[in-house]
Amino acid sequence: MKKIISLILLFIICLGIVFCLQDIPFGAAKTKVGHYYIDNGREETGATNIVTSVVLNYRGFDTLGEVTILFLAAIGLGAVLATLKKKGKRQIEPASLILKTGCRFLFPLILLFGAYIFIHGHLTPGGGFQGGAIIASAFLLVYLGCRERKINEVANKITESIAGLVFIVMGLIGLTVGGHYFLSNFMPKGEINTLFSSGIIPIIYIAIGFKVGSELTGIIDNLMEKS
């Protein structure tokens, strides 16, 4: 009965959306704002990856919010799981030697790859979030492979905080020096398509990379340890 009602209701919503979608033809030419970004993005921000220029410059404030949400998730997760009583030492079956060695071997490589991704965020596909996620996966690998190892929570927290503060401070510097706009790209844009270009974007992306990496690691840590 409930299923039938649900289906009927969803069908009605579906009809409404179909009516609406008639006005949004699939695969049509770009819309106003997008067009502007593609045309002017390189000159205004100095990034070849237009998505990055949108994420960090045109809509940088959204990204600040986004970073905040991830931070929020990490803190919220901690708050929810904090009062959980830890069970006694969990019986951990040590991993095999091959797995351990593999982990040890892969761990720095993954970190390096993650760093590469977020450092080159303004040039190639990728960026802070992707790179951060890759870094976090390295820590997850350690958790899975070398089970007795733990991350240094204090260091993790400090990284997280400082990375967040860097973002804010960069924005505030923009507010004071760069034409009095928050998050304005006050640094020299450099030569397009080189590593040291596009002003504050790489700096912020590095900060985001660290922040996302440490936050996701924190989440993994919390979920592994407290449950």
Partner: protein
């Protein structure tokens, strides 16, 4: 057939959205409901990407010279999806942690039995 090829992304996106909603509506298990939320999120993200797509377009990255700016897909939805994915992750993480705590309290994840807060 042409219709399908024209609208396949929309159909896929809304298919996911409705599957997600349907799961949330009819399933009793909390984990399944959380999976439903995940599917719903994914559907919305897919829809956003589909909105920005143009036929046979390339990624909006000027990685090498000679790329046609008119043939690039809209970068805005991609930026939005980036944000939306992060939000989805945050919600899922929080939901799972809550599910863990809830299981500790109730010993079940059947939402029909978790009804202490009502009326």
């Amino acid at each position: 057939m042409e219709f399908l090829s024209n609208y396949i992304y929309y159909i896929g996106a809304f298919g996911l959205i409705f599957i997600g909603l349907f799961i949330i509506l009819v399933k009793h298990n909390l984990i399944k409901v959380i999976i439903g939320i995940g599917i719903l999120d994914t559907g919305v993200n897919l829809f956003l990407i589909a909105v920005g797509y143009i036929s046979k377009g390339t990624a909006p990255i000027f990685s090498k010279a000679g790329l046609d700016a008119n043939n690039m897909v809209d970068p805005v939805p991609q930026a939005l999806v980036l944000t939306s994915i992060v939000i989805g992750v945050a919600i899922l993480a929080l939901a799972l942690s809550l599910a863990i705590r809830l299981y500790k309290h109730y010993g079940t994840l059947d939402l029909r039995k978790i009804k202490e807060q009502r009326w």
